[in-house]
């Protein structure tokens, strides 16, 4: 039996046709204007880059119309679930699915024997689809069941008998690296070790008037996307295996499914469904191969939706990390040396650990000019759920360590936290620790933007009477962040078509995962093409319709895909002008497409009229853009130009701490960003506000609690996230005026970075308020209370 899938027209087959969308866009605009005041009219104007345009998916989402993978129903559809390891580390001696296969409603059981020999993995294929003879963490998938109902599948999963021989579980990187430790991976327990060096570290430390040495530790955290991983697979009558899944990178799954299943690429299609939050957690493997294999085995559509417990116990996490670090500075606050050691718990498989590790080493010391620098990183395997990509790829933790130390250095040297950063911050022409010379650096502009606010609030807080045990403080932290993959080429492409009625469709492989990137790309493409943004429909993240343009990750969509859209838009404009010129037998240089109008000498016609004119040729008018900047870094020495550009920011936060309880609240945030040109301020502000909320969670409450290799808080009751009352209402977003000569219309992108400074800035603010220096995340109230008690105990 095969299945038909009738695909509704329009974006992500959830948003309806352009005509349907028009109504929602108007409605949403009305609501947004109610809050923000009148928005510029973008009806027929040519360029909209820089204008706040309401995104077109918001109302569909809030009204429950968006079709997430878990909502997609198909005729004859089966429901699948995994059978997961009950041991953190064990040999599998036996696996018996016979009882489960006889259970009511069960249509198929899948084991390693069905999954072939191919391994899966994002960077290195090191992970079995289903564990064969060994499990490396509690929660690893061993088998999968497909049944008529989710309850039947879950019940049958309980009947799968697995015989284990438990092995010693390695629970910390220190244990993993100890002599004689049981080897988790065939290649040993060191997942990756990296080193970078510039200048002479010992000379730099000797030159310093003050050297600070500190240890920092950060807990493991979970992405906490609202939508759990989910996907559905089915086989078309023409033999195409389609997998629809919530992912940040459909084209990766397309290639991997074809490889693992041994199918030609054109017999596999991967479509990204509406993504309910990613944050790096939807770049990895979850349901894809299992639903594909089960759909082939049962010849029925098969859907799998993770439970929240599975999200916590079996999806990738942010790495727990320890930092040991020395920072040296002269009396006037110039940094002379940074000597950093990073130790990361990578979990049981590689996932994105290599990327995270590389990014941490490349970014060590950033965004400051530190002439002598040495950084050593080790990421070890442990018997925990694998750690992978998460918003900022580790930089939120290295920045926590560095910015905390810089704040302490400023205080010890009698400098303001802004001044010490200004004296060391990157400027145009500075060279990074990998040897890259920087351009269009707006870091100091972000410091300048915040300094008057800092001075004013500092004076006001000092003058305000202290109430009970409440204390207020200010903290500052900066960041610099490379845009795109680290040191490897990651081109993006875009394609633009038009029909005879004037509807323009832009195709791009990088999916919109809720950031509003489809709207930003439409703005860039339409401006470059010379057409109204209202005409542009974006199709993204569909392996059949779009080219592989890389994932939506690494803050790369605005810059990489935006540049591709820009080039494609210009190419489209040129081709369209040529087609009109051909029809009118006019010289091509006399025809001009601009602001949705075609002018030929002094005659003007609307774009729509022109489309009718060239209707018979319209399918052939395709604009194409590829953006592939020349980036390269040596994977061993890390020297080179790992990123085409860097985005910078400084955050100033005000906190209130209750010293009697140790409880910490974030009162206000001023977030100054150099993200180049801002394509859509509504989208950028939204990203910053979300980043602040996420940073707050990581700063004060989020942690995955692990005991003996098991996650013991796999639900939102005990894994705390900030609620609406915890996130400050006062988040002021400041975009400094800066133009990146290599970005689309000068843009760099915001994305991940808005999260990075928050924990460090809050820690600095705690030090400002209470004269204690937190050195771990999360800064829970009990931890802060102990620091305060120690402070008071130390007083004479």
């Amino acid at each position: 039996m095969s299945s038909h899938w009738t695909e509704p027209e329009g974006e992500k087959f959830a948003l309806g046709t352009l005509a349907e969308q028009a109504h929602w866009k108007r409605e949403y605009r009305r609501i947004v204007e109610g809050v923000r005041g009148r928005l510029p009219d973008v009806g027929d104007a040519g360029g909209t880059v820089g204008q706040p345009i309401p995104r077109n998916d918001a109302l569909y989402k809030v009204r429950g119309r968006a079709r997430y993978a878990a909502n997609i129903e198909m005729e004859g559809m089966l429901h699948a679930c995994f059978v997961r390891s009950e041991h953190p580390h064990a040999r599998i001696l036996g696996l018996d699915t016979s009882k489960a296969e006889k259970a009511p409603g069960v249509r198929a059981a899948l084991t390693a024997a069905d999954a072939g020999e191919e391994l899966i993995g994002t960077l290195v294929a090191d992970t079995p689809v289903l564990a064969r003879d060994r499990v490396r963490y509690a929660g690893e998938a061993i088998a999968a069941i497909a049944a008529d109902t989710p309850a039947q599948a879950a019940a049958a999963a309980q009947l799968v008998a697995v015989e284990y021989e438990p092995l010693p579980a390695i629970l910390t990187p220190e244990e993993a690296l100890a002599e004689g430790a049981v080897e988790i991976d065939p290649e040993g327990n060191v997942l990756i070790a990296l080193h970078n060096e510039r200048g002479d570290i010992e000379a730099g430390l000797a030159e310093a008037d003050l050297v600070l040495e500190n240890d920092y530790a950060m807990a493991q955290i979970e992405h906490c996307f609202l939508e759990p991983p989910a996907g559905i697979a089915f086989v078309d009558p023409d033999g195409v295996l389609t997998v629809m899944v919530c992912t940040q990178y459909p084209h990766y799954h397309h290639k991997q499914i074809a490889r693992v299943l041994g199918r030609p690429m054109d017999k596999v299609r991967v479509v990204q469904t509406v993504v309910g939050g990613g944050f790096g957690g939807k770049m990895d493997n979850t349901v894809e191969i299992a639903v594909a294999l089960l759909a082939l085995k049962t010849e029925r559509p098969v859907r799998m939706v993770y439970t929240r417990e599975e999200v916590f116990t079996a999806t990738t996490k942010r790495h727990p990390m320890k930092v040991k670090q020395r920072l040296g500075a002269t009396r006037d606050g110039k940094f002379t040396a940074l000597d950093a050691e990073y130790l990361l718990d990578g979990g049981a498989y590689r996932s994105y650990s290599i990327t995270v590790s590389g990014r941490c080493v490349i970014h060590a010391g950033m965004p400051y000019m530190i002439p002598n620098l040495r950084v050593d990183l080790t990421t070890a395997f442990t018997n925990h759920v694998p750690c992978g990509a998460m918003r900022s790829f580790g930089i939120v933790k290295t920045a926590f360590a560095l910015e905390c130390q810089i704040s302490e250095m400023a205080e010890r040297l009698g400098l303001s936290p802004i001044e010490i950063r200004r004296r060391n911050g990157f400027v145009d022409g500075d060279t990074t620790a990998t040897g890259q010379t920087l351009h269009d650096v707006g870091l100091l502009k972000t410091l300048d933007a915040l300094e008057p606010i800092y001075r004013k609030r500092k004076a006001e807080i000092a003058a305000a009477p202290k109430v009970g045990s409440l204390r207020r403080g200010l903290g500052v932290a900066c960041l610099g962040y490379g845009i795109g993959y680290s040191g490897v080429r990651n081109p993006s492409t875009a394609r633009i078509r038009v029909d005879g009625e004037g509807t323009v469709t832009a195709y791009c492989g990088t999916p919109d995962i809720g950031t509003g990137s489809d709207m930003s790309l439409a703005q860039i493409a339409s401006q470059a093409a010379g057409v109204s943004v209202n005409r542009v429909n974006v199709v993204s993240g569909d392996s059949t319709k779009t080219d592989d343009s890389g994932p939506t990750s690494a803050s790369r969509t605005t810059y990489f895909s935006g540049n591709a859209a820009l080039i494609a838009g210009r190419d489209f404009r040129r081709r369209f002008e040529a087609a009109v010129a051909g029809k009118l037998r006019a010289p091509a240089d006399r025809v001009r497409l601009e602001a949705d109008t075609v002018t030929v000498d002094n005659e003007a016609m609307s774009f729509k009229e022109a489309c009718r004119l060239v209707a018979d040729e319209a399918p052939g008018i395709v604009g194409y853009g590829k953006f592939d900047p020349d980036i390269e870094a040596d994977i061993l020495t890390l020297k080179g130009n790992p990123y085409p550009t860097y985005t910078f920011a400084t955050h100033l936060v005000e906190i209130e701490i209750d010293e009697a309880l140790g409880s910490l609240a974030l009162a206000r945030v001023w977030a100054a960003h150099d993200a180049g040109t801002i394509v859509n301020p509504i989208g950028s502000e939204g990203q910053i506000e979300g980043g602040v909320a996420q940073g707050l969670g990581q700063a004060v409450m989020e942690k995955v609690v692990r005991e003996n290799g098991y996650v013991v808080n796999p639900h939102y009751r005990d894994y705390l996230l900030p609620g609406a009352k915890d996130v400050p209402l006062d988040i002021e977003c400041i975009f400094v005026d800066n133009y990146d000569r290599t970005g689309p219309y000068g843009a760099k992108g915001v994305a991940e970075v808005s999260l990075i400074p928050i924990p460090a800035a809050m820690a600095a603010a705690v030090a400002d308020a209470s004269a204690v220096r937190p050195a771990r995340l999360p800064m829970e109230s009990e931890y802060l209370l102990r620091l305060i008690e120690r402070r008071d105990g130390a007083k004479p």
């Binding site: 409880s663 409450m701 609690v705 013991v712 005990d718 900030p722 609620g723």
Partner: protein
């Protein structure tokens, strides 16, 4: 949930009859806040649910002229928070109810549900201990009264027998004119938490002549396996003004009669410390309301 019977009781008697018929297999449901959570997690698979949310005797908030209060077991936290009459007689109850978890829980959750769940970290039990409330239980033999202070027996165990349900809560009129009540709590977040980490409820009277405290009623959440009525702490404060010595005595007594359970978020030591801080602040707030003045904590 397949095969679960669901009946709606119009009166307490119907619910009692249903419980008897089910012979231990039925669960009472009102707002369903905790029960449905347990069912969703697969920890409870009831074969029969008896809905008492519309049962006549379990409705309404009545405040008599003398200040006596009756609250039906099916009254929601939202109703408690919104009752102006209740707020004027006993501000602590409205204050407590207004800060429960979040809007959805306030709208669905009931006073009776919170009491019968007997979560040691629940807010309403602590408040009702402090107010020396009486619980009216309906059962096959008619009804009986049990003091709140005698109701909570062990972790999630109460004085309710298998065929009984809670009908309403009664709170006697305040003993003197100079009474103040207050509720305080600590949780990691400003809202949304499943239950407070630590909560403190205080009812006291202030002697206008010498400023001393009398008729002290205290209740604590998150300080043991049940909602705690700290009698020794009450005794340590009785007859004193709320000064440094009184609070030192309070701390000593509190340490003696509370045994918070450490969990994955907080140690028992920290909870004990927080209980003392919150209780002291709440006593000061109640004292102020009793006309005692003093700065905000």
């Amino acid at each position: 949930m397949s095969g679960c019977r669901f009946t709606v009781a119009r009166t307490a008697a119907e619910a009692v009859a249903g419980l008897a018929e089910a012979d231990g297999e039925a669960h009472i449901i009102a707002g369903g806040v905790a029960l449905v959570l347990l069912m969703n997690e697969g920890l409870l698979q009831p074969s029969w649910l008896i809905d008492v949310s519309r049962a006549a005797e379990l409705q309404g908030i009545d405040v008599a002229d003398d200040g006596a209060i009756r609250i039906g077991a099916a009254v929601t936290h939202r109703e408690v928070a919104a009752s102006a009459r209740l707020a004027s007689v006993c501000p602590m109850l409205a204050e407590m109810a207004a800060e429960i978890a979040c809007g959805r829980v306030m709208n669905r959750g009931t006073v009776g549900g919170s009491i019968c769940l007997a979560d040691p970290q629940g807010d309403p039990p602590a408040a009702l201990l402090a107010l020396d409330a009486t619980f009216r239980l309906a059962g096959p033999e008619g009804g009986r009264d049990v003091a709140a202070r005698d109701f909570f027996r062990d972790l999630y165990v109460t004085a309710l027998t298998e065929n009984e349900l809670l009908q309403h809560v009664r709170i006697a009129p305040p003993p003197t004119a100079h009474r103040g009540t207050a509720f305080g709590k600590y949780a990691a977040r400003q809202a949304m938490d499943y239950a407070s980490t630590v909560s403190a409820a205080v009812s006291l009277a202030r002697d206008p002549a010498d400023g001393s405290m009398s008729d002290i009623g205290l209740g604590l959440g998150g300080c043991g396996t049940i909602p705690v009525w700290p009698q020794k702490t009450e005794a340590a404060l009785r007859g004193r003004r709320p000064d440094t010595e009184a609070f030192a005595a309070m701390r000593a007594a509190l340490a003696e009669e509370t045994a918070p359970i450490g969990d994955m978020l907080y140690s028992a030591d920290y909870k004990r410390h927080v209980a003392a801080v919150i209780l002291e602040r709440t006593i000061k707030a109640a004292y102020r309301r009793a006309g005692g003045g003093g700065p905000d904590p």
